[in-house]
């Protein structure tokens, strides 16, 4: 009888091998992305060419010339510096602010949940349009923010139009748009932390700061890494906000990679240089995310080991 049960359950006909299954599952996603890999490689080829759309006859391989020329090009170093500075400032500020807000909203309540969804609204505003609205709000004449600034004594605050405050202003818009992203991820993280260590610490009268730095932060680390990774990738590639606010100006204050590459392609139609810039940007993001992913995996392993 028992044998019959086993017999009946035996597989018949086509069956997917256990070894092939995971490949089969990830294959469609991979294929879709491979389709995108081909143009990527094409761009790599472009980056090794002297290639201006307006001078098609002069198109030829110049191998590393596009890259080598960057070394002696102060504009490139400025771009690199501004991009890293921008990404660094926005990510750090958004992380701190996002964490603070998440901690304010940590307690589960209808009001807190409602506020957290409301705070997502900036994220739902397309950055390009958000920048446009901020531009209006910081207009020295009609802008409500300029008006408010003048009320608190900043009569002549020039926002995005002065080199000394342009970075600050654009960072402000970036913070406005993207802090909610970090906030929601960290809020989720905070709320999923086990309660016991905190209760124990509270009972033992452990100082709050100690709890925060020794318990909360380490346990939140994987969330922080994920949020930082996605933000960093977007931030170092920021285009919409900067382009809409200042087009990279004033002067060369905000000529980050994507703005430079965009202008190089669409205005100068210098495809070779544009592609080389983007490949370098890609290499930087690849390098940074590699570090992040390694740490992320390590932290996950550790968390898994503890469980």
């Amino acid at each position: 009888m028992t044998a019959a049960t086993v017999q009946r359950a035996r597989p018949s006909g086509f069956r997917i091998s256990k070894r092939v299954l995971p490949y089969l599952l990830s294959l469609p996603a991979l294929l879709v992305c491979i389709g995108i890999l081909i143009p990527f490689l094409t761009s790599v080829v472009y980056s090794f060419q002297r290639y201006r759309l307006s001078q098609p006859w002069a198109r030829q391989f110049n191998w590393g010339d596009n890259y080598i020329s960057f070394f002696t090009d102060p504009k490139f170093w400025n771009t690199l510096q501004v991009s890293l500075l921008y990404a660094g400032i926005t990510v750090v500020l958004e992380l701190l602010l996002g964490l603070a807000i998440a901690m304010l909203l940590q307690k589960r309540s209808t009001l807190n949940n409602f506020i957290s969804i409301m705070l997502l609204m900036p994220l739902m505003t397309a950055p390009a349009l958000a920048a446009l609205m901020w531009k209006l709000m910081t207009n020295p004449g009609f802008g409500v923010l300029s008006y408010l600034a003048s009320l608190i004594g900043l009569q002549d605050f020039r926002w995005a139009s002065s080199p000394s405050t342009a970075l600050l202003t654009v960072v402000l818009v970036d913070i406005w748009v993207y802090t909610p992203f970090i906030m929601i991820l960290l809020l989720a993280g905070l709320r999923s932390l086990p309660t016991q260590p905190f209760e124990a610490a509270a009972l033992d009268g452990v100082p709050r700061s100690f709890v925060f730095f020794r318990i909360t932060l380490p346990m939140l680390m994987p969330y922080i890494l994920t949020a930082t990774l996605f933000r960093l990738l977007d931030s170092i590639q920021q285009f919409d906000i900067i382009y809409a606010m200042t087009q990279g100006g004033p002067g060369d204050t905000l000529t980050v990679f994507q703005v430079e590459a965009y202008l190089n392609f669409f205005q100068s139609t210098n495809v070779g240089r544009s592609a080389a810039l983007m490949i370098i940007l890609w290499a930087i993001t690849y390098f940074l995310s590699n570090i992040f992913i390694k740490n992320w995996l390590r932290l996950r392993e550790r968390a898994r080991g503890q469980a």
Binding site: Q55, P56, P140, R158, P163, G249, D252, F266, T269
Partner: protein, 481 residues
Amino acid sequence: MYEKEKDLIDAFMRGQVDRRGLIRGLGALGLAAGTAGTLLNFGQTRALAADFDWQSHKGKTIKLLLNKHPYADAMIANLENFKQLTGMNVVYDVFPEDVYFDKVTAALSASSPEYDAFMTGAYMTWTYGPAGWITDLNEWIKDPAKTNPNYAWDDFLPGVRNSCAWNGKPGGELGSEDAKQWCIPWGFEQNNITYNHGMFEKAGVKVPGNMDELVAAAAKLTKDVGGGVYGIGVRGSRSWATIHPGFLSAYANFDQKDLNVSADGKLSAAMNTAESKAFHKQWVQMIQESGPKDWSTYTWYQVGTDLGAGASAMIFDADILGYFMNGGDNKMAGKLAFAGFKANPAAKAPTPNIWIWSLSMSNFSKDKDATWYFMQWASGPEHALFGATKMDFVNPVRQSVWKDDVFREKLNKSYPGYVEMFDASAPGASIKFTAQPLFFDLTTEWAATLQKMVAKEVPIDEGLDKLAESINGQLKEAGLG
């Protein structure tokens, strides 16, 4: 349907009724002016049909790429006539101006056969032409079999027409003998002064006649009008568009150039001369003293919006920007006036640099002959007149339109001083840039340098020397210098 109206129009076509009589007559028949205009064009369309086989591409469809612009709107409003005339179908994509040229570049660089013709500026053809994306239109213009006899190529303002023709040699003179007609001018802008005469009166400022007066007037306006109003609006964003309007028009008036062309065709930077430095000093000073506070983000839109909303007392920008701001629901509508401007006291006349909205034919078009049918209609005298009189198709590029009484009367009535301004500056109006493929690189860098100077990050002399050095380097790198 409109039998009586048609009779009246036919009478007009036969010369029995003059234009004003016609419009009055149609008005008496209870037709709105716009409808009258369309009907009038029906009549003209039928007249056109008499001399040329407009129907030879019947049934074909062409696709246009258009910028969201009054010119495009005027064309679309009149498009039914073209379809009737030719039996062709026309479809079109309209993109917002903010992204329009990026879309054009994306479509053309992909060799997309989707669009047969598209709107462009003359500067862009310096890229599109050498890139092989657009067609030399001489082949069609000069072929009587393909172009209708009423087209009147000579009717185009010569300076504007020539500005759209280039031989493709870096530094080559526009409109030279061997030039290729990369595009057909459609409408154009001269850069002059539009001012708020109420504010001028209040501050007791006269219309400035040269650069010194302009700087002084702007400063006085900023000081005396009050209410946060500043003296002069000019563009300042980090873009080529900052250089080409008022700035270059005034610059050119001092006989200054962007680039020098040597006898052997090599290009070199020309903006670090003593005269240029002196001019830059004045210009920068003017912005610092009397420009918008966030000048470095100013594009066409902000310059116009401020003028229309009464935040600025004058602008030195496209005349048609002033034109638009004098109408619609703008706060300052009807309160603006126009003036030609010659920056150089020694110059005889204004020398405005111009922007030309034009039509180009895509090299990837599958049926260029059919496309040309559309282009010759859209740039033809009938449509030009329709657009200028019934829609906001200013500034028209055809001399015949400027001579048209209805058009002049319309302008004089609602835009006092506009016609005079135009007449004064039109003779000197042309593209003041040197045609060459690095136009956008170099001009954007020029704008960035200007921003640095206004922000006092770099002294003017040093900034210009550095700019010249950088430009010379880029020209060499591209094999042009």
